[in-house]
């Protein structure tokens, strides 16, 4: 309880829950959700509301996921999706940081209006165009993720660099920092929190768009699995693939959170 932010948090939300209780609550919420879902699907069967095939119970869905995992089919799809996300996102991140970080006034004034015009266009609206341009194969899927993730990451990076506290720059220059060292020792660390927020957005967005691009002309991947489930009316497979995607997205976000914990320890240092 040493910092002002801690105090404000405390004032607004009360004392933080003890770790174990917080964990228990979270677990309880998940179990309650599964319980409700079971109840709903059970009632459908019991009362004969509609064909139970439309809403498979959670245990059957999880069973389907387990079956796919055991027979090995699942892993190929997971790997295909993860590979596309990893390559597409990484390319997007490299481009966004590569262009956004050194963006001086000139680059900013030239690029930003273009980006601002393109940004409100929902990325999915461009998917058919990507297929026309790049074809239906791997490249278009990866390029599409790159395209979709570039914008938020580029804009947050440019904004972060632009809004570094000028006082810190003054302090650093009067301590003798210039050019490259001013950039690496002050601008970059000062901009890092916002840059990481942009990266987190990018990760979330890549899982968002990959599914849809896998609906079209893919032979593997979790999006393909969902679409395949639709074609053959395999509701369990559709829900199962969606859940696996959810876990992957959760994991991706977790990785960024891990980076934030490690790199931004100074924002909330452990109270000693």
């Amino acid at each position: 309880m040493s910092t002002v932010t801690d105090l404000v948090q405390w004032g607004l939300r009360g004392a933080p829950l003890p770790r174990r209780r917080a964990l228990a609550l979270r677990l309880g919420a998940v179990l309650a959700f599964l319980g409700l879902w079971s109840l709903a699907s059970g009632l459908v069967v019991l009362l004969g509301l509609f064909n139970p095939i439309f809403l498979a119970g959670p245990w059957r869905v999880l069973g389907k996921v387990a079956a796919l995992a055991v027979n090995g089919l699942l892993w190929g799809h997971v790997a295909a999706t993860l590979e596309r996300v990893a390559v597409g996102f990484a390319t997007g991140a490299v481009l966004a940081l590569g262009l956004g970080l050194p963006a001086g006034r000139l680059v900013r004034n030239v690029l930003e209006p273009i980006v601002e015009i393109l940004r409100p266009v929902p990325p999915l609206a461009m998917l058919p165009l990507f297929i026309v341009w790049v074809g239906i194969g791997e490249t278009s899927k990866i390029a599409f993720i790159t395209y979709a993730t570039f914008f938020p990451m580029f804009l947050t990076t440019v904004h972060a660099v632009q809004h570094v506290d000028p006082l810190l720059l003054r302090a650093a220059t009067s301590l003798g920092a210039r050019r490259a060292r001013l950039f690496f020792r002050v601008v970059l660390p000062a901009a890092l929190p916002e840059i990481l927020t942009g990266i987190r957005l990018g990760v979330a967005l890549s899982f968002f768009v990959i599914v849809i691009s896998e609906f079209i002309g893919a032979e593997e991947g979790l999006g393909y699995l969902i679409n395949d489930g639709r074609n053959f009316f395999l509701v369990e497979q559709m829900l199962g693939a969606a859940i696996v995607l959810g876990f992957l997205g959760y994991g991706g976000n977790g990785l960024v959170v891990l980076l934030e914990r490690r790199w931004l320890r100074w924002e909330r240092p452990p109270t000693s």
Binding site: T3, L167, R170, A172, G176, R185, P189, W266, S272
Partner: protein, 264 residues
């Protein structure tokens, strides 16, 4: 303390010659400083005193190299200044610590840029953290410190870089009254050991009389030099001594004229 620092390093460290500063676009610019000429002697603590908006911080920012003067020039150790530089350390009212660095790393920032070897850097950090009484807080981050502690770190950071002058822009302005007096005492104690050349901006007359070897009173906007007082008090000052109060009331009279002008 008298004008010159130890070893008789007399002579002007900073020469401010005919500095004008106007803000805004030409044609519609408002003058902030008019024809300010000053010399800061080596080893002296010079206070720039005046009502808010008198341009004292502007003058400090010009000496720091953050903003250029409209006319006139500033020389430090005889060389004209061009932008900020490590020979002019700055302590800001808002501390301006690097929040991602620990206390020790903040103090080490300047020496590290200068390529001081690690072993020597450790000595420097230890010395200045001891000086400001923060040794046991070396591994803390700025968010974990109080305002007074942050400003101690900022002072240690400026001194550790061994600048030939230190510019302080209302450094204790954001602190509560008690902490403020403690910090004044700390700075006075440090100055008795270090004999730095310091330009200290403040609007507190008491603070100026407590710390300064010389006080430059500035007129209200636009800023000119109105009066200069040499404070002949012992190095360790007593805020309740008759002499102290005499200086205080004398300077108060001069400052009041300026504050009254602003009210008109």
């Amino acid at each position: 303390m008298t004008m010159a620092g130890p070893g008789g390093a007399g002579g002007a460290r900073v020469q401010i010659e005919g500095v004008h500063k106007a803000f805004g676009l030409d044609g519609r610019s408002t003058p902030a400083l008019i024809d300010v000429s000053l010399e800061v002697q080596a080893g002296e603590l010079l206070c720039l005193l005046g009502p808010s908006g008198c341009g004292k911080s502007t003058l400090l920012n010009i000496v720091a190299g953050f903003i250029p003067p409209t006319r006139g020039r500033v020389r430090v150790d005889g060389a004209p200044i061009a932008g900020p530089g490590p020979e002019r350390g700055v302590v800001f009212q808002e501390y301006a610590l690097f929040p991602w660095l620990t206390v020790a790393q903040n103090v080490e920032f300047g020496p590290r840029l200068m390529g001081v070897p690690a072993a020597r850097r450790r000595e420097v950090v230890a010395r200045y953290l001891d000086m400001v009484g923060l040794r046991e807080h070396a591994t803390k981050f700025p968010v974990q410190l109080s305002g007074g502690m942050k400003q101690r770190v900022a002072i240690a950071r400026a001194l550790a870089n061994n600048p030939s002058i230190v510019l302080m822009d209302e450094p204790f302005g954001a602190l509560d009254a008690q902490t403020r007096e403690v910090m004044q005492e700390e700075l006075s104690r440090i100055q008795r050991v270090e004999h730095k050349t310091i330009v200290f901006v403040t609007h507190s007359i008491r603070e100026a009389v407590y710390l300064a070897d010389r006080i430059v009173v500035m007129t209200s906007s636009p800023g000119r030099v109105k009066d200069v007082f040499t404070i002949k008090l012992p190095d360790a000052r007593d805020r309740f001594a008759a002499e102290f109060t005499r200086y205080e009331s004398e300077i108060t009279r001069v400052v009041k004229e300026e504050v009254a002008k602003v009210r008109e």
